[in-house]
Symmetry: C2
Subunit: 356 residues, 2 copies
Amino acid sequence: MHEALDENISSTSHRSSTFMDLFTATRKNLTELLGIPKQHKIYFLSSATECMERILQNCVKKYSLHFVNGAFSSLFYKTAVSLNKKAGLESVQLGESFDFSKFKLPKKTELVCFTHNETSSGVSLNLNNIKKQLPKNGDMLFSLDIVSSAPYVKVDFSLYDLVFFSVQKGFGLPPGLGVLIVSPKAFEKATYLYNKSKSIRSFHDFINLEKYAQLNQTPETPNVLLIYLFNEIVKDLIGYGIEKIRNETEIKSKLIYEYFGRSDYLSPFVKNVRARSKTVCVANTFGNSDLVVTGLKRYGLIIGSGYKDMKASQVRIANFPAHDLKDFEKLVESLELVCNKFKISEWKRIFQTGQE
Amino acid sequence: MHEALDENISSTSHRSSTFMDLFTATRKNLTELLGIPKQHKIYFLSSATECMERILQNCVKKYSLHFVNGAFSSLFYKTAVSLNKKAGLESVQLGESFDFSKFKLPKKTELVCFTHNETSSGVSLNLNNIKKQLPKNGDMLFSLDIVSSAPYVKVDFSLYDLVFFSVQKGFGLPPGLGVLIVSPKAFEKATYLYNKSKSIRSFHDFINLEKYAQLNQTPETPNVLLIYLFNEIVKDLIGYGIEKIRNETEIKSKLIYEYFGRSDYLSPFVKNVRARSKTVCVANTFGNSDLVVTGLKRYGLIIGSGYKDMKASQVRIANFPAHDLKDFEKLVESLELVCNKFKISEWKRIFQTGQE
């Protein structure tokens, strides 16, 4: 960040060759990091929420289908409803995943929306099962929300036509940038709809995004500083090695779930072991999540409480590339101290009086 | 910026009380700085380009009218056409302003779009003339683009229902934030259209923006860092005094235009003295703008070349609150040295060979 300030990146004109070089480099580096096929397009939007809206506007005339198992998959579904699509809904309880072998995708479906990692519940979809059990017909498009699992998740870009994330989770950056990866098939669908109806037109429709991307630019003045920082992080991650990051993510998540398993105060929220997210680890507390969150703060560690209704009863632990193995060893040690060393009643007293 | 990093602002959740306090404070401070009436709404979008699109989507069923005298007013017009509106166009040559006494606004017009300060040409509209010469009928809305004239311009919010700017010009911040100020009448129109048709729905339609604004939040994860920095700048400007800023802007622009008047190498592009922008001062060069731009760089000063087709022949000098009177005195002195001391042929040699 300080380097970006020194180089005066944020004053760079978005029509200058400096910006065009940055745009080109960022796409090239992200392509390398995530293994994106060359013919896929990469667009910079302002948030993952915007990505959902643009995907629906550009690629769906009528029918989308949504696998909903938490707040973020639900947001995608609600966006489709509000955009006047005939949105189908397959939903399970919070903390559950899907048995994809039970479903058959209706032929009329234009877009099927999957949320790889439900940030609200800590459930990850099994991408192998989707591939094996949900055959996609010729015209159908698949979208995959990887907001809280990128760059850990290995995406099969031959299957997913619309893949998106924002940069404030696994890339550890300030919020304000959404990245959308579009397959040639999805772009073709957008072009077809664009030519057929004027209703999808926008400064951020795929046709206009592509027109500027061909010039290595964005339609509007973008968040240049954040694109710069994103490119720097992507380069760092390439240097570190994506396979190493993936291995370490799995080792760190194993540490956490093992602790959830043996703890008297915490237990894993997601019962199905194979559906447990590697990047957002969620546990029920036998009491109040504040005791754990506040307790860890005393050790200089910050974890999240549960999402919305689960705020008081759950904790959520992010496992992103910025956290190294030592951080996680310290986290588990501190969790043990916080949850085991004191009796619960003792913690309650400390929490209420503020005095140890 | 460094303070923001120290306070770890960019990791603040956009659903936390810290963010809600920031949201509230930013709206309150901006209201004070620009004299925005209490009942007007303030929304944070991602760019001025997005503001144009959201204004048209939310407030125009069919007819918008655009006064176009450069690239940015033209972009607003083109956005309306692409959104399938019946967009009317009143245009003049680059560098010209409008004689508003000649126009009568057609009754059917729902929205009239004015660009107060054409960044591409350095022409400012005369807001007094608009008020006197263009009577607005009961239902009509007026929008005003103040991208490159805020916070200098004094906006009559009783006349302009939709006022917008981005923060990378007069507020001197990195790009990535658009601010849109909406009158109760414009919000009412948006509500009417929203209830009548589903086509305007979006995560950034006024109804959804307002739903979250009532909670002092934004629909999506916003650019928290930039909102924080914007609030800091607004507080600084309030502390400095908006009237002082306006006076100084006028003194600084007078210095520049006086120099354009007496220079042999530069002449003001906008012939009509009253239409000359106070915040973006544009001059023709009798040669190549690169000679001036490169010459000034040797004195550590950065000015812009002309916009697009005028790149080679014009220079543009931004006059924003971040530049103080001393900066401008130095700029004029340096301009004199660059343009007068050497013969043009001499500068050409230096520019071509890189040697003095």
